[in-house]
Subunit: 249 residues, 2 copies
């Protein structure tokens, strides 16, 4: 078994023990300190033992949009030596479409990583008013080398000051709402994705899959992005200026 697989199995096992030890399955608030500590220890061991692994942390929350999250995970997850963890403020999150995912990490802590993924979805409509989330996200952005939002995930970024004075884009059907949240951001009404310094922001839902392949090409070269697209039998829209869903500004 390769180290990545072995780690995933180990993480699953430790996390499961934490869940079973917990008085309440759903709420971090009611987890015992011991079980939270167990989870943290496991994550720290991973960071030390495989420091060349590309560490991806993806935020999830109730009513996240399925493809916002899983399209990028599909593509990024085919790079070699990558580790993808989900982070949330509860241990199980339900997508807008119904199926549920398990968080590997909790937002009670900051988790330094190479890439922070922020999906969108209906759930962002309430999360933008959650000051605890905005406070955590501001700190988590500082601890992340790169930040990648999909769709209305950019609404959560817009609520921090971190995105100010950057070019960025978002879902084009929710364009008025997202852009109204922060006028200090240089919003782009026509772009499949925008890469500006620390922030990679994509347009709605499936645009995240194209932007993820762009990020693979930046990290590993165009041939690696093409290999992964072919493996997924995916016709990659590799031109960020080709936005079939652009709006007028």
């Amino acid at each position: 078994m390769n180290p990545r697989r072995q780690f995933l199995k180990l993480t699953g096992s430790v996390f499961t023990s934490s869940l079973m030890a917990s008085a309440s399955f759903h709420s971090l608030a009611s987890m015992s300190d011991e079980s939270t500590q167990s989870l943290q220890t496991d994550v720290n061991e991973k960071s030390v033992s495989a420091d060349k692994t590309y560490q991806i942390v993806a935020l999830v929350f109730d009513d996240y949009e399925t493809l916002d999250l899983h399209g990028p995970i599909e593509m990024l997850g085919h790079m070699k030596n990558v580790d993808i963890k989900l982070i949330a403020n509860t241990q199980i999150c339900k997508s807008y479409q119904g199926p549920r995912v398990v968080a590997d990490l909790l937002t009670s802590n900051i988790h330094p990583c190479d890439l922070l993924i922020i999906p969108g979805g209906i759930g962002t409509r309430s999360l933008v008013a959650n000051n605890t989330m905005t406070h955590w996200l501001t700190k988590q952005i500082s601890a992340s080398k790169k930040v990648f939002s999909i769709c209305t995930g950019s609404a959560l970024l817009a609520k921090t000051v971190s995105l100010n004075h950057h070019k960025a884009t978002t879902n084009k059907m929710a364009y008025q709402w997202v852009t109204s949240l922060n006028h200090q951001v240089d919003w782009q009404p026509s772009a499949r994705w925008v890469d500006d310094r620390k922030f990679l922001t994509s347009s709605g839902v499936s645009a995240g899959t194209d932007a993820a392949l762009f990020w693979v090409s930046k990290l590993k070269g165009i041939s690696e992005a093409q290999r992964i697209a072919r493996l997924a039998e995916y016709t990659w829209n590799h031109d960020p200026k080709n936005d079939p869903f652009a709006v007028s500004s």
Copy 2:
């Protein structure tokens, strides 16, 4: 809260109780009869109380391919009055890319449904040799009005006799392996997807997203499929004969 949302929250709550009551978190075999019964009762109540809901059941297993599952769920999940449940032989399954999902149902029983989804992935390489899975799947196919496989999910179908004498397709990079499993199937080397009576089979990974939109168009009309594609800012390949990854037979 709309009925679908309310049901999902209820299901989550009852399922969580089942998990916590269970002696072992991971294994169905070691679940108490009481907790399994609790899960079943909840599902049956749903069937009775909302019989016009379009019921989708999607199989998951360790090392399933992320987009095989979540691409179709994204598109099908935007239809009105639809309910999507995951089914597995363990309560948590880990995708090939790492993140984990929670099963709503277990393969200890057969669950009649309108649409059964079978994703592919590396996990199918061992599952094809699992006679218990093949036996369950044969019965589950009989209890499903329509069966939709993505990528190497068709390998699992091929191990049953149900797919015999149907036209079908599969992942084109794994074409030799899948087609070698059953010579009674009329395999199509060039097709984005194939719809033949009970079975809708798609080509690799992202082809499932296109085939799902095709199925939306069959159920609800082309304008509904176009509405959902637009919502997801997705450029739908709506022609099953347009297969950029076709192989020679």
